[in-house]
């Protein structure tokens, strides 16, 4: 099991009722972790609209992560 810090933003933060939490997980990719946390952020499939960052660097959904990492889940952005 890995222990990671997960941060939620905007709609995800509101749905989760929190901005961050520590999560114990056996997920290997960021996509698996996202899916395990669906009860928090409420989104079934992040492809094509949601983004993920790992330790303040934009990441790919298939990317692995390590114990102690910080994972940021971004719902669809809308600047401007």
């Amino acid at each position: 099991m890995k222990s990671v810090q997960v941060q939620y933003f905007a709609l995800f933060r509101e749905r989760a009722g929190m901005s961050h939490e520590r999560v114990e997980t056996d997920a290997t990719t960021l996509l698996e972790l996202f899916n395990q946390l669906q009860h928090r952020h409420g989104t079934a499939d992040p492809h094509g609209h949601c983004k993920v960052a790992l330790n303040d660097v934009m990441a790919e959904w298939q990317q692995p992560f390590a114990d102690g990492d910080t994972v940021l889940f971004f719902p669809p952005v809308a600047g401007g």
Partner: protein
């Protein structure tokens, strides 16, 4: 082509009103013959709903680094001399300036193109979220609300605004 103006950082996020005059002044450059700027304003309507105000949420560390990267790549690619961009966070009233982009270049074509590229990329690449508050008391995150619990096509979610 490379600017001799020392403008770093060139991307900023602010919770205060954007000071357009001071930003323009920072770009003064005797080698530039063209200055183009873009302002995004808070509009009173979106997709048929009457909007009364907005709130922006920003993840600053990545918004700043990605914004810097966009400006850098655009200046290189287009060959403009210098650029600055600022995005608001927090609450804005109607008519408020939500985003400002300014570019100086030798000739106008580069300045127009670079301004367009920077604002287009800021809207889709920076971790910034817009919450609209409506006249009927409802509110919603732009581009998000249709991403309900169940997977469906998101092709229609690109915000053309």
């Amino acid at each position: 082509m490379p600017a001799d103006l020392n403008l770093l950082p060139r991307m900023a996020i602010t919770a205060e009103a954007i000071d357009v005059a001071s930003l323009r002044e920072q770009l003064f450059d005797h080698a530039a013959g063209a200055f183009v700027s873009f302002e995004g304003w808070v509009r009173n309507e979106n997709e048929g709903k009457s909007v009364t105000r907005l709130a922006y949420e920003v993840y600053r560390p990545l918004a700043l680094s990605i914004g810097e990267q966009i400006i850098d790549q655009t200046l290189q690619h287009v060959g403009a001399r210098a650029a600055l961009a600022v995005h608001r966070e927090g609450e804005l009233e109607l008519g408020g300036c939500a985003v400002w982009v300014g570019v100086v270049s030798k000739h106008r074509d580069e300045a127009f193109r670079a301004t367009r590229q920077i604002i287009d990329r800021i809207k889709v690449e920076l971790p910034i979220w817009k919450k609209e508050f409506y006249a009927d008391g409802d509110s919603g995150w732009v581009n998000c609300e249709r991403c309900a619990a169940h997977g469906h096509s998101h092709a229609e979610l690109i915000n053309p605004v």
